[in-house]
Amino acid sequence: MDLKDLYQEIILDHAKNPRNRGKCEGYNHDAKAHNPLCGDKVHIYLKLDEEKNISGLSFEGEGCAISLASASILTDTLKGRDLNFSKKITDDFLNMLKNKKKITLNSLSEDQITTISSLSGVQEFPMRIKCATMAWHTLMSALDKKNN
């Protein structure tokens, strides 16, 4: 358990300068979540086009560095990707935190893998896993919901 694994530079960068914050234009799915213990909040907006591509993806929210970075990395990684692929990556991400599986998907760039994997340090901090997974679970419930 080492703090440096948790607060890696990539994470701090995303936490301080979250990408894709706000409501994305023309979003047709959204969902929000809230962790009553620490007050973390996230609201995911996404636009699913007719070809089942996530053409728009953004978030609003407040929270700790881990939860902000996680939401920011999520939007950065999945924006423009298709639905099934996004579900697969979400599974892999949750699996990485739960079962310490490495992320190896071919169609991700090496950069993207490094970025996502930066959150693997959270494994060693059980009470923070929720911070890292909240955005991803929220994405899934946004996709499960009917169009707005």
């Binding site: 703090l3 701090l12 007050g39 973390d40 929270g63 700790c64 901090f125």
Partner: protein, 405 residues
């Protein structure tokens, strides 16, 4: 026993946390237990355990006597007049639920008003909210000022002839504010309004004289008083004892049970349904003995010194913003840091062995008012000292380093 090196009485401090000494600054959440209390639980289970008040065999007699002795010890500790005013509950939460339910069912009607404060812990709000939902009662919040204080005049303004109860915390678990209890109970008494005090943060820091406070109900939790978890106390002023209907129903609390009707026992039994937390009650007498042996005045003075030192040190740190500045304050410092979320502070501090709490501490109303989603809270117990504060301050500096702020 000397308060200066009292940590040796608490086995938990033998632990290393991430290779560091444990600096436990989360006692407002739950306090650690001295070995006399822990040993009492074991030895009770090992040599005296039996169910209380049910059987007549030797073990049952011993256990019943030990159980009832604690009631006397608690009575005397808070200077209540009658032993039947002391009711054992699962915790302060159950104690407040009991009052809201039993008093509320009988005395609160649609349109009646309940006065709380913006400082309340959820456990002194949710049970009253139930009455709002069920009965159409109205809840009013006495507002807290920028210092974290609530002036007695704010209560005055809210009282009407529909006010049916005033319920407020003795000490805020976020700002550490010590409330002007006597002034509020005097005011309430002059208007004939019953008062419930949430003493969950009070009874471990201040000496309590319940007859002097003159409230109708006083609720607190043993696990914050260096006692066992799963146990709380409700003081109910004698005049209410027969007035209030029972709360939970079950064994022990009845007088006669017929197919068409049930009558109830007298207090305190009436309010203690089912098998109680025998070992916890017995062991809690040791917590009070521990507090008395140290001297509650000595504890107050010691904690006060550590608190003052803590406030002084943290005020020196530009990145730290302390929440509230009440004139009368006990043992609690909540704060925020620019650019670092409390959750991250807590994790980094933990890496240094420093245990604090991050979140809204079950006080969402207050955090909304302050416009912050969460805060970090360092709370001081009798085992903390100035060296602990020094470690805390260094760990806070480490947060700044990690986050480059």
């Amino acid at each position: 026993m000397n308060i200066k090196n009292i940590k040796s009485e608490f086995p938990i401090f033998k632990q290393k946390i991430n290779g560091k000494n444990l600096i436990y600054l989360d006692s407002a959440n739950s306090s650690q237990k001295p070995k006399t209390v822990i040993n009492e639980i074991s030895s009770f289970y090992e040599t005296e355990f039996s169910n209380v008040g049910r059987s007549v065999h030797t073990l049952a007699v011993k256990a019943t006597n030990r159980f009832e002795e604690t009631r006397d010890v608690v009575r005397s500790y808070i200077n209540a007049k009658h032993r039947e005013e002391i009711i054992f509950t699962k915790g302060a939460t159950e104690a407040i639920n009991l009052v809201a339910h039993s008093y509320g069912e009988k005395f609160i009607k649609s349109g009646d008003e309940i006065i709380l404060t913006e400082l309340e812990h959820h456990s002194n709000y949710v049970p009253w909210h139930y009455l709002r939902e069920k009965k159409g009662a109205v809840i009013k919040f006495a507002p807290v000022d920028i210092n974290g204080e609530i002036n007695v005049d704010e209560f005055k303004k809210l009282i009407t002839n529909k006010t049916k109860i005033i319920a407020f915390t003795h000490i805020s678990n976020v700002t550490g504010t010590i409330m002007p209890v006597k002034k509020i109970t005097d005011l309430a008494k002059s208007k004939n309004i019953p008062v419930l005090i949430d003493g969950t943060q009070g009874a471990q820091h201040l000496s309590i004289d319940i007859q002097d406070l003159d409230c109708d109900f006083y609720a607190f939790s043993c696990h914050k008083m260096y006692g066992p978890n799963g146990l709380g106390i409700l003081y109910v002023k004698k005049k209410w004892i027969d007035e209030l209907p029972p709360y939970q129903g079950g064994g022990g609390m009845i007088s006669e049970v017929k197919k068409d009707n049930i009558t109830y026992a007298d207090s305190p039994t009436k309010f203690e349904a089912g098998t109680m937390q025998t070992a916890e009650v017995v062991a809690f007498a040791k917590s009070i003995k521990f507090l008395k042996d140290l001297g509650i005045k000595n504890i107050e003075n010691h904690e006060s010194d550590v608190l003052e030192y803590g406030l002084e040190q943290l005020r020196k740190n530009n990145s730290v913003k302390i929440i509230g500045n009440p004139k009368e304050r006990a043992s609690i410092i909540s704060f925020t840091m620019k650019g670092i979320h409390p959750h991250d502070i807590a994790t980094i501090l933990d890496d240094e062995g420093v245990a604090i709490r991050a979140g809204h501490h079950c006080c969402q109303i207050l955090h909304d008012k302050l416009g912050i989603p969460a805060s970090a809270r360092a709370s001081i117990g009798l085992y903390n000292n100035k060296e602990d504060i020094d470690v805390l301050c260094e760990a806070i500096n480490k947060c700044k380093k990690v986050f480059e702020v």
